[in-house]
Amino acid sequence: MATENRPTGGLRRSLLRRTEWCYDRLDEYGLLPGLTHGIALVFVLWTMFPVYWMVSGSLRTRRDLLATPPQWLPSTLTVENYVQLFAQRPQFYDYLFNSVVVTAGATLLAVALGTAATYGFVQYDYPFDLGRFHLPFTILATRFLPPIVTVIPLYRIFDATSLLNTKFGLVLAYAAFNVPFVVWMMKGFFAELPDSIVEAAIMDGHTEIGAFLKVVVPMVRPGLIAATIFTIINAWNDLLFAVILTSDTSAQTLPVALATFKTAYVIEWELLTAAGTIAMAPVLLFAFLVREKLLRGFTMGAVK
């Protein structure tokens, strides 16, 4: 082995060599593929099992779901839980409706404002180096701020401006909190455009607004879709803002309903699993549509 030619010494080196020796023996006996596939399989099972358990639980009877020892496979499948959920708690229609409205509104606002702002920073010059560093940095800082810091004073502000317990207030709050994501996600897409695109568009007779809307925006469509879906996921999933800024079915969203589901001594797990599945399904669907681009959102554009 090549490493043996080098002068040995140090714990790190000897550890390295020993690990490497083990690795080589595993490889030699053909166990390596088995090991890596085994680890990958454990990872998949560990990741999927809780999701499987909730989804399958929503399609079982309560007895079947909470049996000891656990019934790994459902004995019968039924949609009765979903029927019962809406029959026993008709306010679930309201929660679902509020979630859809708030998510759609916040996403439209955040993507529109965020995309326009990003284009401005990339395309134009601003005084005091604002566009190159200060504003993007400030926008990044807001992303790192724990939301609880602003949501407490925000509660007082909403109270004073009668935005409390309204869908509109929640739309504004979610839009504001997702603009930073959109800016940092779109930044990479705009940077990948060739410089001469806007000039060429203006030569062709477009106004500057026209160049942005008709030439640039269509070219960053993959970015817009990714940013839209990422914002949808964020707004749909949030609990903190919704639980603080809303108080009844006129604005409360699904996560609030789920988090406050257990009112009595028993948790109605057969209904709660159905409600949880309803909350989970749309985001999973959207996420799979853009799975390659999603990492950009999670890493603020650091991973392409």
Binding site: A2, T3, N5, L16, D24, P33, T36, I39, A40, F43, T47, P50, V51, W53, P70, L109, L113, A116, A117, G120, G131, R132, F133, P136, T138, I139, L140, F144, P146, I148, V149, T150, P153, I157, L172, A173, A175, A176, V179, V183, T207, E208, I209, I233, N237, L239, L240, V243, P255, L258, A259, L272, G276, A279, V283, L284, A287, F298, A302, V303
Partner: protein, 300 residues
């Protein structure tokens, strides 16, 4: 501006359009900035104002820096910071080490890698509220987890009712949800190592692990720093899991800082105290952002 303008007298609507054209850079950025000022800068200013008042049943009264002194000298706020730190250290350590290990495994010859990556996205996009419920179901007395670990622990585990276990009962769902994030990011970095670099190292006779440490690692080092910072920030703001699973209990053993602030403000109505704590938390957050900006050399 190179664009030529029509010199004849223009209609008001057209003139307005031209004016918008000339100031387009501000029209593009100002709406977003106004929204951000209204929802970040103004609330922080408002918190500063609230932090010098005390809120009681009879209304509020000016108390100056009393809130700051009370919070910094009494243990409750520091306790919640310490609990948050414990949660952060446990969760981030597990997520990052497991995540990197799995990324390296998946980077070797694994079939169905794309499928495994796709499955890794599943926990990431599920609401933390739902994640907490998934695990609450598994934590049920006599439920799946008790069935699996029962033979090791000799009986059901008081997952959410014992002060010694409850913090772990929060760490596990967070690790479940966020380990795939580390895996996916690091894996993306590993796959970006150019083949010729790897081949050159093989030619030089570097062993497998030497290649890993000296050739591959530099490519992913920055990403690992990034993901650690992302998770530090993420665990600092943990709320939904605590809200659903423990509400800060039992015996205050999981009273993380978000929960502490929430209760201070909305259970005890003490907005002054809560705002003061929020501002102190803001200082920590800014320090972390600054570190991030330095490390990743932010520029636009």
């Amino acid at each position: 501006m190179v664009r030529q303008r029509n010199s004849r007298v223009t209609a008001p609507a057209e003139r307005a359009l031209l004016w918008v054209e000339d100031h387009l850079r501000w029209f593009l950025t100002l709406p977003a900035l106004v929204l951000l000022v209204a929802f970040f800068a103004y609330p922080i200013g408002r918190a500063l104002y609230l932090s010098v008042y005390s809120f009681g049943t009879t209304g509020r009264s000016f108390v100056g820096v009393e809130n700051y002194i009370a919070i910094l000298t009494k243990g409750a706020f520091w306790d919640s910071l310490w609990i948050t730190a414990k949660f952060m250290i446990l969760a981030v350590t597990l997520e990052v080490s497991l995540g990197i290990a799995i990324a390296f495994v998946l980077n070797s010859r694994v079939r169905f890698r794309g499928l495994v990556q796709t499955i890794g996205i599943v926990p990431l996009v599920i609401s933390p509220t739902v994640v907490a419920l998934l695990w609450q179901l598994l934590y049920q007395n006599g439920g799946v987890l008790d069935f699996l670990v029962g033979p090791l622990t000799g009986g059901p585990v008081p997952w959410l009712s014992s002060p010694d276990v409850a913090l772990w009962a929060l760490v596990i769902p967070d690790v479940w949800q966020m380990t795939p994030l580390v895996t996916l990011i690091v894996l993306a970095g590993l796959q970006s190592v150019p083949d010729h670099v790897r081949e050159a190292a093989v030619m030089d006779g570097a062993g497998r692990l030497r290649r890993l440490v000296d050739v591959t690692l530099p490519y992913v080092r920055e990403l690992i720093v990034l993901v650690v910072i992302l998770r530090v920030v993420g665990t600092m703001r943990v709320f939904a899991k605590v809200f659903v699973l423990t509400r800060g209990g039992p015996a205050g053993s999981t009273n993380v800082v978000s929960m502490k602030l929430y209760r201070e403000a909305f259970r005890y109505g003490n907005y002054g105290r809560a705002s003061t704590m929020a501002l102190l938390l803001l200082v920590f957050a800014l320090l972390i952002t600054y570190a991030f900006a330095k490390i990743s050399e932010v520029e636009f």
